[in-house]
């Protein structure tokens, strides 16, 4: 899948796929959905927090830390990396840079969300048509 080639998803995502089996056939979809809900809430919180006249950078950093954590747990590598950069600007309390970072994180999030949704939809279609999903062996 194209996701790995462009670095959208890393080995952690593979790990999650390995945790799915016949007794838990929807595990990946469930985790990914939780990730979407969680992230969108965090992105809203971040937007609001950065929109304040006096920005509370500690709070902003806390939100970014959470987003970094969940994106890391899912394997959303580019989102995670964008969060790391974001946090360093929070430390500097740099308003302009953090606003740019927020845009960057949002962009990466929507990109990976799109890829994940497409991929999961494809998988469902394949399985529904009686086929099977090959496990990609990656040379990590």
């Amino acid at each position: 899948f194209f996701c790995w080639e462009k670095g959208f998803l890393d080995a952690q995502f593979l790990q999650l796929q390995q945790l799915q089996d016949e007794s838990n056939p929807d595990f990946v979809v469930e985790v990914v959905s939780l990730f979407f809900d969680d992230s969108e809430k965090l992105l809203n919180d971040l937007t609001m927090a950065l929109d304040q006249p006096n920005v509370d950078f500690k709070k902003v950093d806390a939100h970014v830390h959470q987003l970094k954590g969940s994106s890391s747990s899912i394997g959303a590598q580019r989102v995670k990396n964008a969060c790391i950069a974001f946090r360093s600007f929070c430390e500097e309390q740099n308003i302009d840079a953090t606003l740019r970072c927020l845009q960057q994180v949002k962009q990466e999030y929507y990109l990976v969300k799109n890829k994940l949704e497409t991929m999961l939809r494809l998988e469902q279609q394949i399985v529904a048509a009686g086929g099977s999903i090959p496990m990609i062996e990656l040379g990590f």
Binding site: W4, G7, D10, A11, Q12, L14, Q15, L16, Q17, Q18, L19, Q20, D21, E22, N24, P25, F27, E30, V31, L34, F35, D37, D38, A62, H65, Q66, K68, G69, S70, S72, S73, I74, G75, Q77, N81, I84, R87, V127, G130, G131, S132, I133, P134, M135, E137, F140
Partner: protein, 235 residues
């Protein structure tokens, strides 16, 4: 839903099942998992279940203490847990609002009823000072997030062995491990407090749980801070 073409998946599942069958001949390990992140709770729960554990997942240190019956504000009998299920292992996130994993660790180790329960700390940040502090406080192990199945299996293996051997030496061992581990660290270079991970994980091997810039001196045997600890404890 027949996924008969996914041979690799089936093989993996079989391997896991095979492993589980061989380790769960005694009663199941009951793990109390503590993490404020919904995503991480879901993942750790699955990792533990696949490793044949019973899991109770809570979202805060406070709730963990309540579950154990250690919350001062709630009068509970000092028995083994809310619903009578004895907790064999606590695995907790470090960074949590309210009570951190470290504070939870301290509370557990201060309690006469529960101090023998092994506590494992998880953190996305591979900070040596943090790891040291946790180990000195009596943490059994420290896992760098994101948590992988191999991390969980190692912990469960270790816990199962501990349960069988008895826990008399736990306090002494934890202290000794802290000292030994520090000695070992002095021998390693590049271990000053590290910033959060910037390494692209696509370059790391599947077995490595290191996501930060700390480079182990002998990559083949020491590929994670926690594995280093495991080796130390057997010295």
């Amino acid at each position: 839903m027949a996924r008969n073409g996914g041979v690799a998946w089936m093989r993996t599942t079989d391997k896991i099942d095979g492993y589980d069958l061989s380790t769960s001949d005694t009663e199941e390990v009951h793990v109390l998992a503590v993490d404020d992140s919904l995503v991480d709770r879901k993942v750790i729960e699955r990792l533990l279940r696949i490793s044949s554990c019973k899991v109770t997942a809570v979202d805060s240190g406070r709730r963990a203490l309540q579950y154990l019956g250690l919350d001062e504000e709630i009068q509970k009998k000092e028995t083994n847990g809310f619903d009578g299920l004895k907790v064999d292992l606590i695995i907790t996130d470090y960074c949590m609002p309210g009570m951190t994993g470290y504070e939870l660790l301290k509370k557990v180790k201060e309690s006469s009823a529960f101090r023998e329960i092994p506590v494992v700390i998880m953190s996305s940040e591979n900070v040596i000072a943090r790891i040291d502090r946790c180990l000195e406080e009596g943490a059994e192990d420290f896992i760098v997030k994101p948590v992988k199945l191999s991390d969980v299996k190692r912990i469960i293996d270790y816990t199962t062995t501990e349960l069988r051997e008895g826990e008399q030496r736990e306090g002494a061992r934890a202290k000794r491990r802290g000292i030994n581990k520090r000695k070992q660290r002095e021998g390693d270079d590049d271990l000053s407090s590290s910033p959060p991970s910037t390494l692209s994980s696509s370059t790391s091997s599947p077995s490595s749980s290191i996501q930060s810039a700390t480079a182990p001196s002998s990559p083949s045997t020491l590929d994670s801070p926690t594995r280093r600890l495991k080796m130390t404890s057997s010295e």
